[in-house]
């Protein structure tokens, strides 16, 4: 209560203070016969000087921000395309900061210099075609350069990934992320949102999942009424339902029947050999782990609303859109350890954040991202199981050591490509 009073008091006092100021002003104006529409010389000079002062203040503020925060921001771009983006961004910054200083200086200096002086008359200067042509052509030329460089980078970034790239799917939902690795065949299993069940939260398509989803639709499962249960309820003469409840049930039934038809069609046309694609996928829920130097082709999918996969350090951003798959390819250049060293910061971790408003906990929707050196990455792989429960690196006992050594060598070559860059 006390604070409410204080707030009220402050507002009232503020208004009173201004009222008194105005009153004083009014009285002096009356005494000196000052009219508001005639701006006294003193006021003009005051404001013109303020213009210059403000300009200096603005520049000092800007330069201070530049020095203090301009170079610490995100650290170096940790991907190949990200370094192109940064280079272009810096070039653009040089250009726009130059324009910012040049035009603001002209504006404020003129505002200061050409303040009305007693007896002076303004220079009548309605137009000058040559001058106007200059400031049409020069911006056009600068922009042409910006456009050409920009589109070149854009094209490089957006061309389709080659087959060498490792495919990973990033799945988004309110409010979290899940990664699905394509496994040894580098081919992701199919999915369909209609297969979503508590046992299959990522809606992955296998024969077993189709059957269980269909079964769930028809027969039902705990906490979920199936078509048969609803039909029984509606047809049972011993149950008397209020009308709106009955209507709601009918609607529910209609919806389920439609879904069931879709699932039946899916079941009829499904080719069982596709199971393999899904079965050797690896689902990782707590973090996205990448190998240094590897080319990645990420695909994105959303369960509910639009999210946006934003990897600030990679300079990667792509919306995840329900009903649509989106893609982004990149090559991480620095392992997490490299980055720690570069930023001289022991606590550094890469991060994946949601960057499209998606509900109350939007701000907490994030996932840890790690870029590992070859040995670490191989060890990490070894600790993970595929969708059907076998080892990710599913080598027979006899050739395991040999195959793993082969893989490590491959990873080392991949990582070494970066060092050369």
């Amino acid at each position: 209560m006390g604070s409410k009073l204080i707030i009220l008091l402050v507002i009232i006092l503020g208004v009173l203070a201004i009222a008194q100021l105005v009153r004083v002003n009014e009285l002096t104006a009356k005494q000196t016969g000052k009219r508001e529409e005639e701006i006294p010389h003193r006021d003009n000079i005051f404001n013109s000087r303020m213009m210059l002062l403000f300009m200096i203040l603005l520049y000092v503020g800007f330069i201070w921000l530049m020095i203090k925060y301009g170079f610490v921001d995100l650290g170096p771009a940790a991907t190949a395309h990200g370094q192109d983006i940064d280079w272009l961004l810096n070039l653009n910054f040089v250009i726009i900061v130059a324009i910012f200083f040049l035009t603001n200086t002209l504006l404020f200096v003129f505002a200061w210099k050409y303040v009305k002086k007693p007896g002076a008359k303004a220079f009548y200067y309605p137009h000058n075609n040559k001058l106007e042509m200059i400031w049409t052509v020069i911006p056009a030329a600068v922009l042409a350069v910006i456009i050409i460089l920009g589109l070149r980078t854009w094209n490089d970034i957006t061309t389709t990934a080659d087959d060498e790239s490792v495919k990973i799917e990033v799945f988004s939902y309110q409010f979290g992320w899940t990664a699905r690795y394509s496994g040894m065949d580098n081919e992701l299993g199919r999915f369909d949102y209609k297969l979503t069940t508590p046992q299959n939260p990522y809606a992955i398509m296998t024969r077993a999942n189709i059957d269980s989803a269909l079964n769930r639709m028809m027969v039902g499962s705990p906490g979920q009424e199936g078509i048969e249960m609803i039909e029984n309820k509606l047809n049972d003469p011993s149950i008397v339902l209020p009308r709106d409840e009955r209507n709601a049930l009918r609607q529910e039934l209609g919806r389920k029947e439609r879904m069931a038809r879709h699932l039946q069609a899916m079941s009829a046309t499904y080719n069982d050999s596709l199971d393999d694609l899904a079965n050797n996928d690896i689902i990782v829920e707590d973090s996205l782990v990448l190998l240094k130097g590897q080319h990645y082709a990420l695909s994105f999918r959303s369960k509910d609303v639009i999210h946006s996969a934003y990897f600030p350090h990679f300079r990667v951003q792509m919306n995840t859109v329900p009903g649509m798959t989106t893609h982004f390819k990149f090559q991480p250049l620095y392992s997490t350890d490299d980055m720690k060293e570069k930023l001289n910061n022991e606590d550094f971790e890469y991060i994946l954040m949601c960057n499209k408003i998606c509900g109350g906990s939007h701000y907490k929707m994030k996932m840890e991202v790690q870029v590992l050196e070859p040995e670490e990455y191989l060890n990490w792989q070894k600790a993970h199981k595929t969708y059907d429960g076998s080892d990710w690196l599913n080598f027979s006992e006899s050739e395991r050591a040999e195959k793993e050594a082969e893989l490590l060598k491959k990873y080392q070559t991949i990582a070494a490509r970066v060092e050369e860059k």
Binding site: K4, I7, I18, A19, V22, N25, E36, E37, I39, D43, N44, M50, M51, L57, L58, G61, Y69, V72, D73, I85, L89, N92, F100, T103, L107, F110, A111, Y114, K116, K121, A122, Y125, P126, H127, E132, P139, I147, G150, W154, I157, Q174, M259, D304, V305, I306, Y310, H313, Q317, V321, M324, L343, D347, F348, N355, K356, I357, G359, G360, H362, Y363
Partner: protein, 598 residues
């Protein structure tokens, strides 16, 4: 379309009007303009308070603030800590009100109504009735928008762009229930208001210009309002369709924007729609809307800068050309909001090209303003200060647009605070400055009184310092990788401490400037209302201006001019013309023997 002198069919001016027909259901454009202004000022006050609330949260997250509890109550700020859902609600409604109700309805509604008939020499708008309907629809939509703040499940919470599926699914966020329904209803009515108003402005400008008021003799304000109205007529219907389809998805089970969704454990049977379709429709309106907001501000400042520099606006025809070019280009740039939606990259390239082209007419406008100041004799009325402030923010906000328009760079900064800073400077500050400039400059015309200059100066310097103080650091927060619409940036800790530290430091600075700036506006509110009642009486032409509105009597008469309509002989920018005694020559003054027009 030659200039048509309007017959004096409103000649029977001086009959007594009842209070209701004079102040409430008025069909007089001057009164309607004032009604728009009052409503907009009130809405602006609300939107500003909302921003103070969420700035408190962003500056000092997790800290209890009685201030919040006083205003938002225990439901939305228990223990004085803002609720995370309501945070999104505040952001959403702040954006909606500022963009549509203050800067579209308020700016264009106020000044188009006030100035179009007065500056082209017409007795009133083409249709007084439609004009009145336009205002009342605006008022109703404003009320509905405000009411949505008090709904139990909260106001719309999906950002001012209300992207589906978030905005379509009450299961996804509580604000997408009743709050969103009210939002859509309000916007539908608002769009109707805006369309009726725009049609009226267009017809009036084309048909009701007084004798001699050729298109090339119109003040730039009128050109700006005219092109703004055309943009509104062509783009708002698309937003209307977007809103209606969304309404249908929400209530009738259609699937325009919905497909393959599992939300809150429920599998929806919507298949085949596309959320991206909504974005295309919404953003088709978006960029024209930016210029619906900006062009009137630029138009007003052209007039004010020329008058107070006592110089003709430099490059009048180039200014008209830029207004037209900006207006045209704004229709083919909408994809620059959608570079990272997974849109076809080639389409993206096209939008990069068209978007960056807009920088050219914008640059022309800036250089023309600066050249207008060159060798002028500047008189610092508060209006002039704000007009110069506008040019500065238009530059500062405009240049960062070059980065955002470049699709490759946009990947890095899209939806970060860099974007928030960019559009708040170029569209928010510039348009607000234009609006303040207009209010200070035409206050004598509206109320027959003068505002206090001293308070105007205080108001301006507080506003520009705080404006830059808020948005300049915000660019750096964005470059540090801070996404927009985050309730609390302390989630950064542990991931990237340097960024987190910087973000928190800067957020405190920003919040302090925002709060000072917001309370600084009290100076304006006070000056405004005090001057209406107690201000000095204004002379007929206080700023020694050339345009026609200053040839009308100070006390408003129905039909604007008591006698015949004025005849126009020259363009409106003959200031300090050589060989003339006065440093201004009203448009009604015939050309002298052997005088060149300009």
């Amino acid at each position: 379309m030659a200039a048509v002198a309007q017959e004096s069919n409103h000649g029977h001016d001086h009959h007594e009007e009842s209070f209701v027909s004079k102040y409430i259901f008025s069909q007089d454009h001057k009164m309607i303009g004032k009604q728009f202004l009052m409503t907009a000022i009130f809405m602006g006050l609300v939107a500003m308070m909302l921003s103070v609330f969420f700035r408190i949260q962003l500056g000092w997250p997790g800290e209890s603030s009685d201030f919040l509890n006083v205003f938002l109550g225990d439901r939305w700020a228990p223990d004085g800590i803002l609720n995370q859902d309501m945070y999104l609600g505040l952001v959403t409604i702040h954006g909606t009100i500022m963009v549509f109700f203050v800067l579209t309805g308020g700016l264009s509604g106020t000044f188009s109504n006030l100035l179009i008939p007065l500056q082209i020499g017409a007795r009133d708008m083409a249709s007084g009735l439609l004009n009145m309907i336009s205002y009342w629809l605006f008022a109703i939509s404003s009320i509905i928008m405000l009411v949505s703040l008090f709904v139990e499940s909260g106001p719309a919470m999906s950002g001012w762009t209300v992207y589906p599926p978030l905005s379509a699914l009450p299961q996804a966020v509580s604000g997408s229930g009743m709050g969103m329904t009210l939002w859509l209803t309000s916007m539908t009515i608002f769009i109707a208001s805006s369309l009726i108003g725009s049609l009226n402005y267009i017809v009036t400008v084309i048909n009701l210009r007084t004798k001699g008021m050729k298109m090339t003799r119109m003040p730039l304000t009128i050109w700006a309002f005219f092109v703004t109205a055309i943009l509104g007529v062509l783009s708002f219907p698309v937003l209307l369709s977007a809103a209606l389809l969304l309404l249908m998805d929400r209530t009738m089970g259609t699937s325009f924007y919905l497909s393959d969704i599992v939300v809150g454990g429920e599998m929806l049977d919507n298949v085949g729609g596309s959320p991206i379709l909504y974005q295309h429709l919404f953003w088709f309106l978006g960029p024209p809307e930016v210029y619906i907001v900006l062009l009137p501000a630029l138009g007003l400042s052209s007039e004010i800068i020329s008058t107070n520099a006592r110089k003709p606006i430099f490059g009048y025809r180039a200014m008209i050309g830029s207004i037209l070019a900006i207006g045209f280009l704004s229709f083919i740039v909408w994809g620059h909001h959608m570079f990272v939606t997974g849109m076809n990259p080639f389409l993206g390239s096209v939008f990069v090209f068209t978007t960056l082209l807009i920088a050219i007419p914008s640059a022309v406008k800036v250089f023309n303003y600066i050249t207008t100041l060159w060798k002028g004799t500047i008189v610092y009325t508060p209006g002039m200060l704000f007009a110069i402030g506008l040019v500065s923010t238009f530059i500062t906000g405009g240049v960062t647009g070059i980065i955002l328009a470049d699709s490759a760079l946009d990947i890095s900064v899209h939806d970060t605070y860099f974007v928030v800073a960019h559009f708040h400077v170029v569209m928010g500050l510039s348009a607000i400055f234009g609006m303040f400039a207009g209010i200070y400059h035409w206050f004598p015309k509206m109320f027959g009184k003068l505002m206090s200059n001293r308070l105007g100066y205080i108001h301006f310097w507080i506003t520009i310092i705080c404006g830059y103080g808020v948005f300049l650091p915000m660019h750096f927060v964005g470059l540090g990788g801070a996404p927009r619409r985050y309730y609390d940036y302390s989630v950064y800790e542990g991931f990237n401490p340097t960024s987190a530290e910087m973000m928190m430091d800067l957020n405190v600075i920003i919040s302090i400037f925002a709060i000072i700036g917001a309370f600084g506006q009290v100076v304006f509110f006070f000056n405004f209302f005090y001057s209406i009642f107690r201000g000095q009486k204004s002379p007929q032409n206080p700023w020694k201006s050339n345009t026609l509105e200053w040839t009308t009597p100070v006390k408003h008469v129905h039909g604007n001019w008591p006698g015949e309509l004025p005849t126009v002989h020259r363009w409106p920018y003959d200031y300090s013309k050589p060989g003339m005694d006065e440093d201004f020559i009203p448009q009604t003054t015939p050309l002298m023997e052997g005088e060149e027009e300009h």
